[in-house]
């Protein structure tokens, strides 16, 4: 991959990944509000906000981070299966995205219930929260960020073999 394209994809990847964490942070603020606040109007607004943030920020950013991550890894020396930190990052990203997509209908459903005029204030107060998921998701995203920054050493068997092949090729060259 050319240097200019690598920088473009890297910029997109960093932006979407960090944006993903930021969007989840905003989600957690609203999630905590649903736990700590008793005002039905505030709760209704919080559930609507959670749905909007998830649909229009978290999900698109998660998909963008996943796709750009694969593009970068395949287009650079790091590869997709050569280093353990890349594989772990990939697995964690996929898991986080799957859990997110599983929660999507629930979040949307709560927003619908919260905005339905027929729903009583007590009904809104009983909708519950997703704190465990959102905080767990944040921890996973932070682990991914740490791995991407520190890039801890560790070749996979495939990566080790490819590295030996590359080294042999260099030795053979005049």
């Amino acid at each position: 991959m050319k240097s200019s394209s690598r920088k473009f994809w890297l910029t997109t990847h960093i932006t979407s990944s960090v944006g993903w964490i930021g969007a989840v942070a905003a989600f957690i603020v609203l999630d905590i509000t649903t736990v700590t606040n008793e005002d039905a109007a505030v709760l209704r607004a919080a559930y609507i906000g959670m749905d909007l943030i998830t649909t229009w920020a978290i999900v698109p950013l998660a998909v963008a981070a996943f796709v750009t991550g694969i593009i970068i890894s395949l287009g650079t020396k790091w590869g997709l299966f050569r280093h353990y930190w890349v594989i772990v990052t990939l697995v964690l990203t996929v898991l986080a995205t799957i859990v997110l997509l599983i929660q999507l209908p629930l979040i949307s459903h709560r927003a619908d219930v919260a905005t339905d005029p027929a729903t009583t204030d007590d009904g809104v107060r009983g909708l519950g929260n997703l704190l465990l998921h959102s905080i767990g998701g944040t921890v996973v995203l932070l682990v991914i960020t740490v791995l991407n920054v520190y890039k801890p050493r560790g070749f996979t068997r495939y990566g080790w073999r490819k590295q030996q092949e590359d080294a042999g090729r260099i030795d053979e060259s005049p």
Binding site: V88, P105, H109, G154, G159
Partner: protein, 85 residues
């Protein structure tokens, strides 16, 4: 922070990967335990139609939306939600 990939290292699984796998396995088992022994009190399905505390009776008649909640919300309550694509 790190050198070029592959400087003087073998292909043995590093300790940090083993630790991460063990932590992941423990968390996975905990979640599995919640699913199996939590009487279905974990997972999205518990939120649709459940009424364990009796306080959310009005949520029972709702089914998961076909579209997105926020769009319906803007019409139902008049909240200023922009109609994004």
């Amino acid at each position: 922070m790190h050198g070029a990939p592959g400087e003087g290292e073998g292909h043995h699984m590093p300790r940090w990967v083993k630790v991460l796998v063990i932590v992941g396995a423990v968390v996975g088992l905990l979640v599995l335990g919640l699913l199996v022994f939590g009487n279905g009190e974990h997972g999205p399905s518990r939120h649709f139609g459940g009424n364990s505390d009796g306080s959310s009776s009005n949520t029972e008649s709702h089914t998961p939306p076909a579209g997105h909640g926020a769009k319906a919300a803007s019409h139902a309550v008049g909240v200023g939600v922009p109609s994004w694509p």
